[in-house]
Symmetry: C2
Amino acid sequence: MTALRPLRPSSKVLPVDARGHNRSLVLQTLYREGSRSRADIARETALTRVTVSALVAELISDGLVVELGQREETRPGKPATLLDLDRSAFVIVGLDLSEHSVFTGALLDLDGAISARAEVALDGSTGDEAVAKVVALAEQLIGQATAPVLGIGVGSPGVVDLGGVVLSAPNLGWNGMPLQSILADRFGVPVLVANDANAAVLAEHSFGGADSDAMLITIGHGVGAGLLLGGTPLFGSRFAAGEIGHVVVGTDGGAVCACGKRGCLETWLSIPNLIDRLEGEQGAARTAVLQEAGQRLGIALAPVVGALDLSEVILSGPTDLLDGPLMAATVETLRSRTMAEFHGSLTLRMTTLGPDIVLRGAAVMVLSGQLGVS
Amino acid sequence: MTALRPLRPSSKVLPVDARGHNRSLVLQTLYREGSRSRADIARETALTRVTVSALVAELISDGLVVELGQREETRPGKPATLLDLDRSAFVIVGLDLSEHSVFTGALLDLDGAISARAEVALDGSTGDEAVAKVVALAEQLIGQATAPVLGIGVGSPGVVDLGGVVLSAPNLGWNGMPLQSILADRFGVPVLVANDANAAVLAEHSFGGADSDAMLITIGHGVGAGLLLGGTPLFGSRFAAGEIGHVVVGTDGGAVCACGKRGCLETWLSIPNLIDRLEGEQGAARTAVLQEAGQRLGIALAPVVGALDLSEVILSGPTDLLDGPLMAATVETLRSRTMAEFHGSLTLRMTTLGPDIVLRGAAVMVLSGQLGVS
DNA sequence: TCATGTTTGTTAGTAAAGCTTACGAACTTA
DNA sequence: TAAGTTCGTAAGCTTTACTAACAAACATGA
């Protein structure tokens, strides 16, 4: 197999960079496969036992890896010393800024399990005031930490660049807000900030079993999406990938949107709009409203699914509204509007991670950025 | 700036791999910037002069780089010895299998300039017979080569996997045809096979000035697309990325397609269908047909442009039909159906590379795969 | 004119990374 | 008890890119 190399080798690579890569490889093996011996790791990574020993020694002295003792299993040869990630050695602070009236946060261990929670009401704060609430939330969580903080991951609404600057988040009044550097300066730990839907799709990949080409649609006050292509998050040319809420759907009009256009996806699908249209409706009428919303989502997604050859589309939002006639209509519409060969392999489902999906995605960002693990 | 690392470090990295990367970096600098001295390259790559000297010595002994003599410009210090890629040291064989009734091929130099052409009529051949014609075409071109062949690049219709197996190309009757290994075994040189539209978007990126997030739409007997995201071609979960010809457009019916659905993009936009509908039409009626086709393209592209945050969409096909009312209608439709903030930076244009775009894209694949250059 | 400074490309030596080879330790099996 | 197996480590080697230093070849200013 001859794959294309990256088109633009952007900077030099020193031996030490290769070492970092191999170190992550060892860490990744332990993270995913659980307790292994040095010899096991050598076999799985194709590195030699000698090299693995050296890398493991480094990881042990960094406090990331611990020896568990000898393997119980009885077989010929010297018993292996089992190793594992010290999953309680560090905690991760995850922050979810995507909800409309509250910032939520949590302490997570290296497996993404939540050990403490906190939240702060937004009370209509915007701008620096909203930033102060983010800082306070992080401070409160760090105060509860029982282990060193590996890093802070933040899922923010709006458009976020690769340096963690929130270029635009209308609801919070942020325009070019350097959230990453503010938090990094304040707390002195690594900080990673990304769009909430991007964080969510990472969580779904790491913890929800989504494969490497997936799209996650977040349906709430607005409608957004996070894309994972070939295992890599997509950011887009101006970091606005996934902003599909204001794409017009269909060729037959629709309601007027806050953005001025008519028939935007949000007018069909956002939760406030859905609830408005469901007001007082029962039975078949209710089903019809949900089906129409699902059809509209399918119409909007069909070209994207076809162009990207996605194998998995995941919905995140209120289950009572989404998981039923709406999702069924979306699947049906997608099937009737894309090529037959897609039907077998395209799956559409709800997220399995529930409302913590952004928090856990924020943790994945830290795991990925700091340890090269996910 | 803290970017996310690749999520899955897939294999170990040895120092020798880093060396290969740096070697490509030097090559890339010479390829893009033209004649430079060793010291210039060191400054641009951040490698030391010593390291660059060693890499350059290797490249000279491989016949890829030549010394041009001393720099003319008068300035203090010892005069620099200028280097350049020996752009005539190798030739590339490019093959375009995307046309309906003929396979075309060319010899290209390292700059992508065409020095010889050949073609072979398809005469309705399919299956192994069609493969034999590909082999004959390659053989004829290799026979004309005046320098060693760096590799063979092939742009094929249909779905092509990363190993150069054509999984499905209905017109050619290929299902799982291992074109890469057939050609590699036959000619003993590196062979790279990809979908024609993927090849085309690579050409547009390297030679046509397209930026790193672009989509190229090929409009001919069918309608397809190649996607470049963050400078990397997108293949999709089943190597079928870009297959948009049979996505249904709009919510108001349309003509019945060969695939059985109604209103597929191809029924609006493929050249045979367009010509049918233009039959006998003049003036405003002709314009109306073209505008409607353009609108349909815009409707199909809007969700993709929004979801991927594309900055550039390029059309490839017959200029007389595409470059006029059709393209104007596509732009207008895209603008009216996506967010206002896209309008400033989204450009839609015809390719500047004409009918050789796939041949040149095939050359880019070889340059990228063999030299890490593009 | 001539000393000084600048730039280039190379030589010599060093540090880091992962490799191969070899070995002792600890266990199972015949 | 001897032989075989597996684990982890030690010693030495090769490769890589680095720093330091230098000669060559030029420009510039006193």
